[in-house]
Amino acid sequence: MSLIFEHFNHWVVVILMMIGLYIVITANNLVKKVVGLNIFQSAVFLMYITMGKVVGGTAPILAEGVTQYSNPLPHVLILTAIVVGVATTAVGLSLVLRIKSAYGTIEENEFQNKEDVI
């Protein structure tokens, strides 16, 4: 039983990753693909933050009378990763906009039909 609780976070993370990946692969609409990517990435963020947590600790900001802090390093990493994620999203969505204006559609199967697939 304790195993379930101790790993619950990890398993949810795994489920979220699977959902994200599933959306990326199956989505026909490019915007939805981008959403899927974001979900996938957020799941990874969650994994990192989970490992930084110390039960009974507080946020890593120096405070009087606190001895147990959670680990600041994963937070830093994920701050960076979130920024990377939004950067990718922005570029991805601009590509989607350009695809829309070039092909008139952002449904994958439709624009694939419009070109000689290589």
């Binding site: 990753m17 990946l21 990326v24 490019l30 693909k33 990517l37 996938f40 990435q41 990874v44 994994m47 990192y48 490992m51 390093l73 994963p74 990493l77 960076t80 990763a81 990377v84 950067a87 990718t88 570029v91 991805g92 590509l95 989607v96 350009r98 695809i99 070039a102 092909y103 624009f111 694939q112 070109e115 290589i118």
Partner: protein, 501 residues
Amino acid sequence: MFEQHLAVLPVLLPLIAAPLVVLINKPRAAWLLSTLFVGACVYISFGLVSATMDGGALRYALGGWEPPWGIEMRVDSANAFVLLTVSVIATLVLLFAKESIASEVAHKQLPLFYSAYLLCLAGLSGILITGDAFNLFVFLEISSLATYTLVSLAADRRCLTAAFRYLVMGTIGATFILIGVGMLYMKTGTLNMLDLAERIQAVESHRTINTGLAFIMVGVSIKLALFPLHMWLPAAYSFAPSAVTAFLAGTATKVAIYVMLRFVFTIFGAGYVFEQMNMEIIVLVLALAGIFQCSFVATTQSNIKTLLAYSSVAQVGYIILGVSLVSLTGLTASLLHIFNHALMKAALFMAVGAVFYRMGSVQIIAFQGLGRRMPWTMSAFTIAGLSIIGVPLTVGFISKWYLVTAALEQGNWLVAFLVLVASLFAVVYIGKVIEAAYFKEPSEDADATKIKEVPVSMLIPMWLLVLANIYFGIDTSLTVSAATAGAEALLNGSSLVGGVQ
């Protein structure tokens, strides 16, 4: 002053140049500035190669924080060698790009193009020389974002879908690497590569580490386009602007391969990856399958850029094959081929870019009769093509020689034979183009009188590469010793642990 910062400058110079280029916002000045900075990178890379030749490593603690608390850059003979390859190709392509890109990208966007180019280079250099697993991810993303931009700048609308597909695949790959690094961090509490290598031994057989290895390998394999995860590459290479293709073909996948080497040999250790996990069998089979499948597909293409793109995937297979042999000769062959393949593919894509510059098409029909009209371009293509085939006196032969020798060393005669047989596919697909260029009459619709040789500024970098193809095919002492030193550095981590700061 200069010496002290040698190990960080290859990243820093392009990183600083990229915003400057945007501020300047004049295409010509932007080009000049980029060329200066990238040229400086070549100079520095040379310095790094010679500084690490004796097997030592240069370490540079950023922010003055000693690792593992801070991030460090670490240059040893392996990454210095790849870094040199990348910066040389980057410089030559930049020279080539001046005319080529101006004809393919809108004038107003040129400074943005150069900025993205510099960012991409900075990202690639950062990946190569960083000694921190997470920092690697950051630079991976810098280079990837810049690459998506570069690919999408072409005039053909298909570049957009290609870039998007690349973006999706690339992001999944990078996220996989992030997952893997997270798992390693979770078990060891550190991100510094050396520290990881040391601490990972205690937890080696844990399932989390196994999974981490799997995710990193898959993630990197996407980035380096290992069969069957290569599907993004042909489209991206086919529709990107010519200069971008030349640049990417010479550098991007090479750097990803280096990442794989770094993770396998430095962090996980060859013993764990190959002896415990038996990765080499999977990798060997995939590499061979990739070589054959993609070489075959290449022979069926009529778009020459696509053809060469498939050839690139096949060549990646050769490099990975060398890794999977897990020996000094095998690794040397891989590192050599990283360098050599960069030389040949960049030259080939430049030649194709030159044809596109004049003909506006890269279909095989556009090549017909070009042997007479663009003699310099087509002879460059021919020589670089012979190099891909692996004809003696070109670099292709050297790579092949080492690869087959490595396979025979292991007593793996079958693999050696298959490698040789696979190179025959190259005869077919290169021969196809050469035949069209020299022995076919130009197609009717092409206005034959207009077609002439491309400007000298495009020919010079192309021919420099071609001459390098021949020179390093004859005088192998420099490349072979550098590659051997690199392979040794990878194989025995000891030289990494030591080193000066």
